[in-house]
Amino acid sequence: MKCVVCREPAVIDVRRANSNFCQDHFVRFCLEQMSRAVREFDMFSPEAKILVAVSGGKDSLAVWDMLQRSGYQADGLYLGLGITDYSDTSAHFARTFATARDLKLIEVDLPTEYGYDIPTGARTAGRVPCSACGTSKRHLFDKAALDGSYDVLVTGHNLDDEAAVLFGNVLRWQTEYLARQMPVLSAWLGFPEKVKPLIRLSERDTAADCVISGIDYIIDECPMSSGNKHLRYKKALNSIELVSPGTKFDFYSGFLRKDSHLFRTAYFEHTENHATAERSRHAIPAEVSHAQPVRIATRAERSTSSLHAELEAGQ
């Protein structure tokens, strides 16, 4: 097996791209795929102040590394979730990565600062751990990004994550979730802009990128995620991918290219209702909310205008 670029022995194949790569060209391939996603979806500018949600796992460390190598100013945010030894180990990998590269890592410890951990919080709320964890993380990520005046919050969601979520949402026709499943979620009242630069890379790609780049990450899985339904969806999609390479990418990219706009009406109704509720809660007149900082409204307004134009044109 030869590298498609230099013809030297390849170490990995990327079957959806019908390509094999040596170590150097694979790392470049990953970097190019991330840059392409950033460009295609206008995720952030070269001057943006970026906060990366870091778990100590392969995806978040890979995206932080790629951003840093691409010259972006990116700080990390690690949340200590109080999940026994798993949290201690994942924190170790996040800290080691940041220290070795002289990067700023912000740490928030849930048990210390908020008085609960994920296992206890999930039990108390009567929710499955992944659900309680997701809700806590989203809230704390949002808060940290806004408190630190970051332009954008980057997460390490990859192609497999997005394809699995899309698969689940389609199986249940959860239209509101389908509309929100975008690589860029615009800033809104109380929410920072969130982007997913790894949507063109699979989990296998990000893991390989880490191994080749010498990034140590937590390999063991969260002990609370066993039986997670997204794992079943990933397994199902990988079974299809095995016999039909490119299926995951076509599924997700086809959704973004062709169908996602069909669900946006539901999303904008949801966000407008949310904004109205926020205005009401804080007794803010509608015209004042329109005067929120430009960064908050720009992309959403542009998308809304575009949607309205499409609707008016009967498309």
Binding site: V11, I12, D220, L231, K235, S239, L242
Partner: protein, 84 residues
């Protein structure tokens, strides 16, 4: 050869030489869901693993573990489970 599988941890002894793709096939592991690593380096599917080699089969699926399919163990000489 010794094949160390992660999540859940197990150590499997297998006759070599064998191609990486064949090793995964014997273990019933989907190649899309793992990396195979020898001496810290990723090895491609068509790489030959010698009888004296040790390789790690590392899952890449986040959010949980995969199961080794034990239905086809004809080439597996021994298997030892470890506590993770």
């Amino acid at each position: 050869m010794i094949v160390r599988v992660r999540n859940p941890h197990s150590e499997i002894q297998m006759p070599g030489p064998a191609l990486v793709s064949v090793i995964l096939e014997r273990l019933g592991i989907n190649r899309e869901s793992v990396l195979v690593i020898r001496n810290g380096m990723i090895v491609a599917g068509d790489e030959r693993i010698e009888d004296s080699d040790e390789v790690e089969v590392r899952p890449v699926i986040s959010g949980g573990a995969f199961e080794v399919d034990s239905t086809d163990t004809s080439q597996v000489m021994s298997r030892k489970r470890f506590e993770s």
